[in-house]
């Protein structure tokens, strides 16, 4: 199964249309999508505008490959589960986001072992074929922040109490 998510804030029909086209030529592969706001209809995918967190997690965990906009929620969830994820960044010039920060995010995240970045529908189709052709594309997952960040946060949280107790 392939699960696609484009967040729930802004439409991203360019990705959904590309994936629906791919799905039309791969009827043997189940494709589910959390579409967010959209005016499009996607005949070859099972679509929901907005899944609750529990349903979202279930679909995410069941998927072989995730297809997503370059949103950190999708990227971090994929890294947590070690899932391969195909990212297509939103472009401000095409009215897909307020700015082009997803291009930066995608460029930075491309170095992660489970991340593949594509820029258009044609690339998306070929990258998806390639990923599905691999026997086992999962990598080791992690669900928490770096030890450095955790330690710094603990200092901040608990030092504040120590200071107040003294003061």
């Amino acid at each position: 199964m392939i699960f696609a998510t484009v967040g729930t804030q802004l439409p991203f029909d360019r990705l959904l249309t590309a994936l629906d086209d791919w799905a039309s030529t791969h009827p043997e592969v189940r494709v589910m999508a959390q579409t967010g706001r959209t005016d499009g209809t996607f005949a070859h995918m099972e679509c929901a505008e907005n899944l609750g967190q529990t349903e979202f997690t279930t679909a995410f965990e069941a998927a072989r490959v995730i297809v997503a906009h370059a949103g950190m929620g999708s990227i971090l969830s994929a890294s947590e589960l070690g899932k391969p994820i195909l990212l297509m960044p939103r472009r401000a010039a095409l009215g897909e986001h307020r700015n082009d920060h997803q291009l930066d995010t995608a460029a930075e995240m491309a170095s992660l072992p489970n991340v593949t970045v594509v820029q258009d529908g044609k690339d998306l189709a070929s990258a998806l074929d390639r990923l599905l052709g691999q026997r086992d594309c999962a990598v080791a997952g992690s669900a928490k922040a770096s030890a450095l960040l955790i330690a710094n946060l603990q200092n901040f949280i608990f030092a504040s109490v120590a200071l107040e107790m003294r003061g």
Binding site: T54, M72, G73, I75, L76, H101, T105, I150
Partner: protein
């Protein structure tokens, strides 16, 4: 000062994030909250199932383009801050985190804004607004921290 809260042995944290990536990043910080009492504030009521039994307070999702909702979110976060009376406020964004931090300063809480890891080139607008308001503003990218004057404390990855 009537708003001043009493210091506690176990710090009370108000952890604030809107939906999507902001919320996922907040969840990755949870290990650091062990030993504290944690309240969450977010935009999606279904998030409660994820952090149960911690209390979850919900505010409207809003951004710069939805001014009325933004005002409602600010008001709701003021109510949440006054009700929870946190010792520490930590937010991974977005706009709601700024409001929570702004109001929490009124009751003397210590406040931290962790800019999203999505902001790999520049601090977000919200993080820039938090500078001078939050006690600490941190970027998850050393280069961004260096060029913006924010701090680097590590990242969620």
């Amino acid at each position: 000062m009537i708003f001043q809260r009493t210091p506690r042995n176990t710090p009370r944290i108000l952890a604030v994030a809107s939906g999507g990536g902001h919320w996922v990043q907040l969840l990755r910080l949870r290990e650091a909250f062990a030993g504290a009492e944690v309240h969450y504030a977010t935009v999606d009521p279904s998030a409660a199932a994820v952090v149960r039994p911690a209390p979850v307070h919900v505010y409207p999702d809003a951004n710069k383009e939805t001014k009325v909702k933004l005002a409602l979110a600010a008001f709701r976060l003021l109510m949440i801050v006054l009700k929870v009376r946190p010792d520490v406020v930590i937010s991974t964004g977005a706009a709601g985190g700024f409001f929570a931090i702004r109001f929490a300063r009124l009751i003397g809480a210590r406040t931290l804004f962790v800019d999203s890891i999505a902001n790999a080139r520049h601090l977000s607008v919200t993080a820039q607004m938090c500078r001078g308001v939050a006690d600490r503003v941190v970027s998850q990218w050393p280069d961004v921290a260096r060029q913006s004057g924010a701090e680097f404390w590590g990242s969620v990855l």
